[in-house]
Symmetry: C2
């Protein structure tokens, strides 16, 4: 009896415009976060928007990590969903926060698949 | 003043094993969901697991839709994050639920980026 995984939903405010619009930086940030969480990376997928904004999703064997940025608002939405007991989503989130240095952030932790499944 | 987007976090229980393990079916389900929500699809990314299980993420201009399935538990975790006022994430979720026919589901709606940003 337990849950399938943990899903962290985080809003980061007051981030630097240039960091939020730098796909290379965000790609490195998100893959590092996956690695320090103990996840096995399967694919890294990014898209850029005009005049600004980036979206990235890292698919891992244990689910996914995503980031969507709004440089014009200094805002990034990230969510980290990791399944299993061997992964550390909070470590991943700390790594992202350290990289983006938001002035403020809000996090919700949601336990997924709570239903006597496992 | 408002929020950047809406994030639906849904757990679907009691789904059919074969549907949950059918990447082609899930690909169609998730892209249809994105379309009926009014999203613009940018990429569709799936991974298969052994002995079973599928992960899919559709990146859309308005953020992302994901699904992670555990056929052995009849369980699917889906999350639909859509930004802007022109998209309809609840319609997308209804479409996924209609396709997967869970015996039970739980949904959380999270408003993202609430901070006088826009």
């Amino acid at each position: 009896m337990g849950n399938i995984g943990v899903h962290l939903i985080a809003d980061l405010y007051g981030c630097d415009f240039d960091k939020l619009n730098n796909q290379s930086f965000l790609r490195s940030t998100l893959t590092t976060a996956a690695q320090v969480a103990g996840c096995r990376i399967l694919s890294v997928n990014f898209e850029s928007f005009e005049p600004q904004g980036q979206t990235g999703v890292v698919i891992v064997a244990e689910s996914h990590l995503s980031i969507h940025t709004y440089p014009e608002f200094g805002y990034a939405a990230t969510d980290l969903f990791t399944c299993g007991t061997q992964t550390m989503p909070w470590i991943a989130l700390s790594s992202i926060i350290a990289a983006l240095s938001p002035s403020r952030h809000e996090v919700k932790e949601i336990k997924r698949g709570l239903s006597n499944l496992i």
